[in-house]
């Protein structure tokens, strides 16, 4: 899952990390066998996710009424969520809903800090986004930097009348003044935690899991 990870050094939401020295924002455990064990908790199951998407679809209709909306998913999992939402919206409102994909990689503010990323699909529905109600869809809202990048990308595609944000999970720890209009589930998390969203389209299963790092024995001894 591609997910922005905030610097543990505690920034005050500065948007220009390219000027800063590289920060190791990963847990200090090398990937591989000797990683710390962690507690995995399933937060949402298959039925929960389906219900959540139904609810968000109703909320989008409630908020925007008969005015058509364009759903733009942020790759990878945001696109699948947007497609599911569009499907539900079409079922509830009885008319098709435009759905597309918006890759934000080229708009990220941390491109210098990570090896080049593979770009994902961008597909703006025919007719463009000018004067439309655009709902951005993503799986996890965390630092807010992905959404900032999405807003920048969207601006280069046109001038929507309104931009709203729908996320399956809001895990807090925002680094930018950004909030979601539609939230599937609020999950309070700590910095070492990770929220993993799995969707059947690519993961063969529908679930949202919270992975919480178990303090190592050394840390526990140090505390006692």
């Amino acid at each position: 899952m591609v997910q922005p990870r905030p610097a543990q050094t505690g920034t005050n939401g500065s948007v220009s990390p390219s000027a800063k020295p590289p920060v190791n924002d990963r847990p200090a455990v090398p990937p591989g066998s000797d990683r710390q064990p962690e507690i995995l908790t399933e937060i949402l199951g298959r039925a929960d996710i389906a219900r959540t998407i139904d609810r968000i679809a109703h909320q989008i209709l409630e908020r925007n009424g008969d005015r058509p909306v364009i759903l733009l998913g942020i790759p990878t999992r945001g696109v699948y969520l947007a497609t599911r939402l569009a499907d539900r919206l079409a079922a509830f409102a009885g008319r098709p809903t435009a759905v597309g994909a918006l890759d934000i990689t080229l708009y990220r503010d941390d491109l210098r800090l990570h090896p080049p990323r593979a770009l994902e699909e961008t597909a703006i529905p025919a007719g463009g986004v000018d004067d439309a109600i655009v709902v951005l869809v993503d799986d996890v809202l965390y630092s807010g930097r992905t959404i900032r990048a999405a807003l920048d990308a969207l601006r280069d595609h046109g001038r929507p009348a309104v931009v709203q944000l729908a996320v399956l999970v809001d895990r807090g720890h925002r680094q930018l003044p950004i909030r979601a209009d539609y939230v599937g589930k609020n999950i309070p998390t700590a910095f070492g935690d990770d929220v993993a969203v799995h969707l059947t389209e690519i993961d063969d299963i529908d679930s949202v899991e919270l992975a919480r790092a178990v303090p190592s024995t050394a840390q526990l001894k140090g505390k006692s």
């Binding site: 990963r26 995995l40 080229l106 990570h114 593979a118 770009l119 699909e121 990770d194």
Partner: protein, 332 residues
């Protein structure tokens, strides 16, 4: 809710997305790219094209604040403009330096020029030079990433990438595709880079040229060599015509232009020999009437203009991939 304790495995949280592809530090030769890296560059170019298709603002903020220096010691129109546009579309600052009207005409050496660039802090240097190996030399003297934009009769890797990109758009995968490269192979850096890249991507390349215009050691290249253009063209998926480089020819390589054109030029009759889905490429600038007739150059199946447009996209991909991730600890 189910709770379980178990060690983090591959199914555990992924902290950094897909495995990054290792780009070389400099792009000096098409041989710097293995198959997965080359395909990564081409698919990145596809995504970039997708991202800016149909937009009013055809600019991306990706390389904001970075400096790209175009260092052109040899004349060029499309490559220089293409690199300049690519860097500008990614919001980099671009300085174009051509040897004419610079201190080079006062006798400054390549090394002194390199030190000047170094002092100015160029993040990338795009170098075109009439001497083979000049970009390679340069890469030892500057900290920035060096991109070879054509060096003597050696290589022109971004041209090969844009040709491969154009071929892939029309033919899909290049695996087993038969591509005929015709003309002045001896003086052609485009041919060298294309042979390397296209064979890396799985294509079968046939070179057709008069024996005088084939380089020494061509039998060691991963290609088939033929002197019979009609036979080589039969059923080919693409034909790439090379420019006859008069400016690099010191001797008599063929009797007359007319004879060359009769034996190795592409006219409508020969155009009809390639597969129905086949396409015609030319890296430009063309000698119309010499290696290619105007009817073929402007006719059906000719993708020569499209090659120029694709050049910008592919060079954007190269700049993005070379210049991002610089601070990630040597993976860039």
């Amino acid at each position: 809710m189910t709770t379980a304790i178990h060690p983090a495995t591959a199914a555990g949280p992924v902290t950094h997305g897909p495995t990054p592809i290792r780009m070389p530090r400099h792009l000096l030769s098409a041989a710097d790219l293995n198959r997965s890296t080359a395909e990564h560059v081409l698919s990145t170019a596809e995504r970039i094209e997708q991202a800016i298709a149909g937009r009013e603002v055809r600019k991306l903020p990706t390389l904001r604040g970075r400096t790209v220096v175009n260092l052109f010691f040899e004349d060029s129109t499309r490559t220089r403009i293409s690199f300049e546009l690519a860097a500008k579309r990614l919001s980099a600052d671009v300085i174009t330096f051509s040897a004419k009207g610079s201190s080079v005409s006062k006798g400054e050496s390549l090394k002194d020029t390199a030190w000047t660039l170094q002092a100015m802090g160029a993040d990338a240097v795009v170098c075109r030079h009439s001497s083979s190996g000049a970009p390679h030399q340069l890469s030892a003297w500057v900290d920035g990433h060096v991109i070879n934009a054509g060096d003597g009769t050696h290589e022109h890797p971004t041209q090969a990438l844009l040709d491969a990109y154009t071929l892939r758009r029309h033919l899909g995968s290049l695996d087993g595709r038969r591509i005929v490269v015709v003309g002045d192979v001896l003086h052609s850096r485009v041919a060298r880079s294309n042979v390397l890249l296209l064979s890396t991507l799985g294509a079968e390349v046939t070179l057709v040229a008069p024996p005088t215009l084939l380089p020494v050691g061509v039998d060691a290249w991963p290609v088939t060599v033929s002197y019979d253009l009609d036979a080589a063209l039969a059923g080919a998926d693409a034909v790439m015509m090379l420019r006859v480089q008069r400016e690099r020819m010191s001797g008599a390589f063929f009797p007359t232009a007319r004879e060359y054109s009769r034996s190795y030029g592409l006219d409508e009759r020969r155009r009809a020999l390639i597969a129905p889905h086949g396409i015609v490429l030319h890296p430009g600038p063309m000698n119309r009437g010499m290696e290619i007739t105007p009817q073929v150059a402007d006719g059906a199946g000719s993708v020569i203009v499209e090659q120029v447009a694709n050049g910008v996209t592919v060079r954007m991909a190269v700049l993005y991939l070379l210049l991002s991730g610089e601070m990630s600890g040597g993976l860039a």
